[in-house]
Amino acid sequence: MSGSLVILDPTAEQEPIGRRPATRPDQLTGPLGLIDIAKPRGDVFLNEVERLLRADLPDLEIIRLRKPTYTKPSPSDLRAKVASRCRAVIQALAD
């Protein structure tokens, strides 16, 4: 094989920006977002999670959030809401 073959890069030639996951809280202090991604029975799962949390942590502030559809990335307003209002989130995939 010839060693001089030059090819063109088929990729986007972009280096992903490295982001570290947010620091995990030591304890749940809220506000806690419970995000339903809109799959069937996501509400069943999150209702149970909320019930358990309220039993254990009655003072925890819980915010219920929902994606319009599981088929698309979260819309920017939902992402903004999570970033500005939630200290932690639990997202339900369900089915």
């Binding site: 094989m1 060693g3 001089s4 073959l5 030059v6 090819i7 063109l8 890069d9 088929p10 990729t11 986007a12 030639e13 972009q14 992903p16 069937p40 319009p68 559809t69 599981y70 088929t71 698309k72 990335p73």
Partner: protein, 545 residues
């Protein structure tokens, strides 16, 4: 097509070696000017022209007009020609043919008369008496001299004689020159395959393929691919999910090369990428889902025959280059530009063979109905792609029905199995009616609307039978039902439970096309994915070349 600089334009500068090791430089042209004479040694028309150039040189000897020969040959063949015609002016050697390519003529001889600042005063290629006479007249005028009597009534010169093909047009040379000329338009990063690496293995090791070997996208191949479109290589075609990175025409061409496309397929790949990267199609979701969906490309209109997209026997199968490579190019684009890779963002549980490639044509000539693209708002003469987020094709087997009504029922019952028989009010499906089945519908005057209605009729079941129950916990869930079907508790009302619910939410969710071989009473359907505007909807785009 010739790109010989016309009068009024500025000719390219050059600096070439001569046979004695010196340089012939055409950076600056002093008054009154310079006449360039491009030739090759084995050209009769060059032999016809050379003595005339010598006579012109003699006639204008005192004027200061410079004569420069540019040879397309190596030094020894150049000497043969120079000696044959006793040329006394400087001869530049253009054996690499870069200058010939820059001057863009198709044939030699080519004569270019330049004034100061390399402004072209006259130019022609081949031989025509009128062109030669015009050029001589310009040259004399530029020198303030009388027009020398070279072209006269008794000169014995032919009226015209075609030139000989420029060496720059020899196929292997043209490709090399095209790379040199076009390299500037290619902005992708160049990657040098390491010495002794097999390019195919190298590309696979970089994770740039789909498991099958890909064609190494060299500059030559990409430039040739770009000839398939009139669009600029830097045009952004679409932002490819999941990373939503811009894909230029050049990046599409690179991936089309890798997939094995011919240049004439490129507009189809571009249109497919445009269609798939719309909010309606939702390629991000189609890619990321754990389901089977993948872009299914349907080609309609004149281009289908022009580039031989198979719409007949084995249309979903192997053996047809356009089908195999167009769909693959879109998949490679998603992988390489968009960053969508299996097991990463592509989370399909089982996948399906169509995730390598899925592209077919519609067999419009054997359809009793208007083709898919016409139904979707385009003229029959417009070439289009329709992208549909589909599963693999599934069989509809009915060799017995001789009436449209019966055949429509068969199709409906088969379609009811899409995703799950109890799952109704689904989104779109692509129904591919084979020619033999199409003939049955035609004989009974069945329209597409009739077929859709029949499918909905035979699949309509009381909602009660479709709900999840102990017998089968899967089914049509109340959450997706219209609000007026439900009571205050969110559960279906008694009236709603008795309501017949057809398989599809809307009749128009059943996309119908004709395709396949003429033998076989088999049709097929490709189930869709999540429904409506919250999932993926088929999108049709015109193919622009």
């Amino acid at each position: 097509m010739s790109r010989l600089p016309a009068a009024g334009s500025t000719a390219p500068a050059f600096s070439l070696g001569d046979r004695a090791g010196g340089q012939v430089d055409l950076t600056e042209v002093a008054a009154p000017g310079t006449l360039l004479f491009f030739f090759k040694h084995d050209c009769d028309t060059c032999d016809l022209t050379a003595p005339l150039v010598v006579r012109l040189q003699d006639a204008l000897a005192t004027s200061g007009l410079l004569f420069v020969g540019v040879s397309q040959d190596d030094p020894s063949h150049t000497t043969v020609f120079v000696d044959r015609h006793q040329l006394s002016f400087p001869i530049a050697l253009d054996s690499e043919l870069h200058v010939s390519d820059d001057y863009g003529f198709d044939a030699v001889p080519a004569l270019v008369l330049l004034g100061p600042d390399r402004q072209v005063l006259a130019s022609y290629e081949g031989f025509a008496r009128t062109d030669l006479a015009g050029l001589i007249e310009f040259a004399a005028k530029q020198c303030g001299a009388e027009t020398p009597p070279i072209v006269t009534e008794s000169d014995g010169l032919p009226k015209m004689r075609p030139g000989c093909g420029s060496k720059a047009h020899a196929p292997d040379v043209a490709q090399r020159l095209a790379v040199r000329r076009g390299a500037a338009v290619l902005s992708a990063r160049r990657v040098r395959v390491p010495v002794d690496d097999d390019p195919f293995e190298f590309l696979a090791a970089q994770g740039l393929g789909d498991g099958l070997p890909v064609v190494p996208p060299t500059e030559e191949r990409v430039l040739r691919m770009l000839e398939g479109t009139s669009r600029s290589p830097s045009d952004v075609v679409a932002h490819i999910p999941p990373n939503l990175t811009p894909a230029t025409v050049e990046k599409v061409a690179i991936n089309a090369v890798m997939s094995g496309c011919l240049p004439e397929y490129l507009p189809v790949v571009i249109a497919a990428a445009e269609a798939a990267c719309t909010d309606e199609f939702n390629l991000h979701g189609v890619l990321a889902t754990t389901y089977f969906a993948t872009p299914v490309i349907v080609v309609n209109g004149p281009i289908r025959d022009e580039i031989d997209v198979n719409c007949g026997r084995n249309m979903f199968g192997q053996g047809f280059r356009a089908n195999a490579t167009i769909g693959r190019a879109l998949q490679l684009l998603v992988r390489n530009v968009g960053g969508g890779r299996p097991g990463d963002v592509d989370m399909s549980t089982l996948g399906q063979p169509g995730k390598f490639t899925c592209c077919v044509g519609e067999r419009e000539d054997l359809s009793p109905w208007e083709p898919l693209h016409v139904e979707r708002g385009f003229s029959p003469e417009t070439s289009t792609v329709t992208v549909f987020a589909g599963e693999a094709p599934r069989a509809i087997r009915d060799q017995l029905s001789r009436s449209a009504r019966s055949l429509g029922a068969s199709m409906g019952w088969c379609l009811e199995t899409m995703a799950h028989p109890k799952l109704h009010r689904m989104g779109e499906v692509l129904l591919v009616v084979s020619p033999e089945h199409a003939r049955t519908f035609k004989a009974d005057g069945y329209s597409k609307a009739d077929l859709r209605a029949r499918i909905q009729e035979v699949t309509a079941r009381p909602l009660r039978d479709l709900l999840p129950n102990d017998e089968c916990q899967k089914g049509t869930v109340p959450a997706g039902l219209p609000p007026d079907w439900k009571g205050p508790d969110g559960q279906p009302t008694e009236e709603a439970l008795a309501r017949p619910v057809p398989k599809f939410k809307e009749n128009s969710d059943i996309l119908i096309m004709v395709g396949g071989g003429t033998a076989g009473k088999f049709s097929a359907f490709l189930g869709g994915w999540a429904s409506g505007t919250m999932g993926s909807m088929a999108v049709t785009r015109e193919i622009c070349r």
